[in-house]
């Protein structure tokens, strides 16, 4: 049985939920880049998503989490997540209490203190585990990139600037998979609301819009799984600066350009 045909608008909800399959998401993003109406719909569904968060249950974080959030943003080391308050120690009024009572209280405070230490260590351990998972995930992503680049069929095309030797882009193109990876360096991040856009230029044809991206503050950018149009003889690839939503055709001068090897 065939699936019901859906309009782009029908896909906006699933896209905002992150529920489209990767190929559908890529196709939808192409339409999204040129449609203010779709952008509005996706933004609206993202607001619905935010409200769905209210249906996530009543779980309440530790009292100390606010302080840890502020420590995190201040770059300070994360310390205890203690949720309880230390009981006030006995004062001079209680000096008449029996020594055994003082000893018992001291023991109680020691237990509380040790429990606090354990909580702090648990929090630190949890933080390290999260970092480890993030590192593993990063490593796996890098390995996937490396595998993609090292594929025997991959061609390396260099995009260079005509008037400035600094920014440079390597375009790894796999003709068999019609897929490309962009690796940029010394590429200054654009201003607010702007981004870089990749274009494929077919022989005798108009530039074909591709991905929109931006570089990190250190000038690096890595964009993977770029679909390359099929059925055309691509002669060049180029980069322009465009609005962050991308453009259907270049609206500014070419910043970097380079030939694409014949596949």
């Amino acid at each position: 049985m065939s699936e019901p045909r859906m309009s782009p608008s029908d896909l906006a909800a699933a896209y905002a939920l992150g529920a489209l399959d990767p190929a559908e998401a890529v196709a939808f993003e192409r339409l999204l880049a040129d449609s203010a109406e779709l952008q509005r719909e996706v933004a609206e569904y993202r607001e619905v998503n935010a409200l769905l968060a209210l249906g996530a249950g009543n779980a309440t974080p530790s009292v100390g989490l606010r302080a840890r959030v502020l420590q995190r943003i201040a770059g300070a080391p994360v310390v205890s997540i203690d949720a309880g308050r230390r009981a006030a120690p006995p004062t001079g009024l209680w000096l008449a209490l029996a020594a055994s009572l003082v000893a018992a209280l001291g023991l109680g405070l020691t237990v509380m203190s040790q429990r606090r230490d354990i909580n702090a260590r648990d929090a630190a351990l949890a933080g390290m585990q999260t970092q480890l998972v993030a590192s593993e995930s990063q490593l796996a992503a890098r390995e996937a990139t490396l595998n993609a680049i090292l594929d025997p069929g991959v061609q390396l095309n260099n995009l260079t600037s005509t008037n400035n030797p600094e920014p440079r882009i390597q375009l790894f193109y796999n003709p068999a998979k019609r897929s490309a990876i962009v690796h940029a360096f010394h590429l200054k991040p654009t201003g607010p609301g702007r981004a870089y856009q990749l274009w494929f230029i077919p022989k005798g044809g108009k530039p074909i819009p591709s991905v929109v991206f931006n570089s990190e503050p250190d000038g690096h950018a890595l964009v993977q799984k770029i679909d390359v149009p099929a059925g055309l003889e691509l002669t060049n690839a180029a980069i322009t600066e465009e609005p962050s939503s991308g453009s259907a055709q270049p609206t500014s001068a070419v910043l970097l350009v380079g030939p694409m090897q014949k596949s």
Binding site: A13, G18, A19, E44, Y45, L51, V69, A123
Partner: protein, 199 residues
């Protein structure tokens, strides 16, 4: 979700202050949305320590990227919950713990106090938040069970429509229709309660 109307300082103001390196702005954002962000993270990851780490990272990302946030293109809370959900889903995927999450999904944190206990929102903010929560629950309650299930699997477990179809042993087209119609119903029901929703 608009910023609490009882507050003189808007979320946009707070983001601008965060962009200007005012740490207290993040504290106020945490007071407003920390519980919601935590609830999402906890619902996805199912562990207090993991959820709290995700909350810290979500607010740290807001702190780092505040300058790039475009007020007017979406609400701050949509941004915050999107970051937290995305980080939580990445975490779960990396740990491959989806089966455990399913059973945790409907449960409250046994260690947590009563809802909103110890929370720092102002009383008017808390009342608004509580009302919105009731509206969301009512809107979810008005969905058919299959629609609600499909949306929850996408939102809290990060499943694609194909994965949902596989999980539920349903045709993909059926799942797509459920997600689309369910989200449309939610949008129509909740439009008055989010920024730019015309309410």
């Amino acid at each position: 979700m608009p910023s609490p109307t009882g507050s003189a300082v808007t979320d946009g103001d707070l983001i601008r202050r965060a962009a200007a390196r005012d740490e207290s702005a993040i504290g106020t954002l945490y007071d407003r949305y920390g519980q919601v962000v935590y609830a999402v993270a906890f619902r996805v990851v199912g562990q207090r320590a993991d959820a709290e780490e995700i909350v810290m990272e979500a607010f740290a990302q807001v702190w780092r990227d505040a300058e790039r946030f475009e007020v007017g293109r979406g609400s701050c809370v949509a941004w915050l919950t999107m970051i937290a959900r995305s980080r939580a889903l990445d975490f779960v995927r990396s740990q491959q713990r989806r089966t455990r999450i399913t059973t945790a999904a409907g449960q409250d944190d046994p260690d947590s106090g009563p809802a909103m206990s110890n929370w720092r929102s102002s009383p008017s903010d808390a009342v608004e938040q509580s009302e919105r929560k009731q509206k969301v629950e009512a809107a979810l309650g008005n969905l058919s069970e299959p629609q609600r299930r499909a949306i929850e699997l996408a939102y809290f477990e990060g499943l694609s429509q194909s994965e949902i179809a596989e999980r539920l042993q349903e045709p993909l087209g059926t799942v797509k229709t459920r997600v689309r119609l369910g989200m449309q119903k939610l949008r129509d029901a909740l439009r008055p309660y989010y920024a730019g929703g015309g309410g």
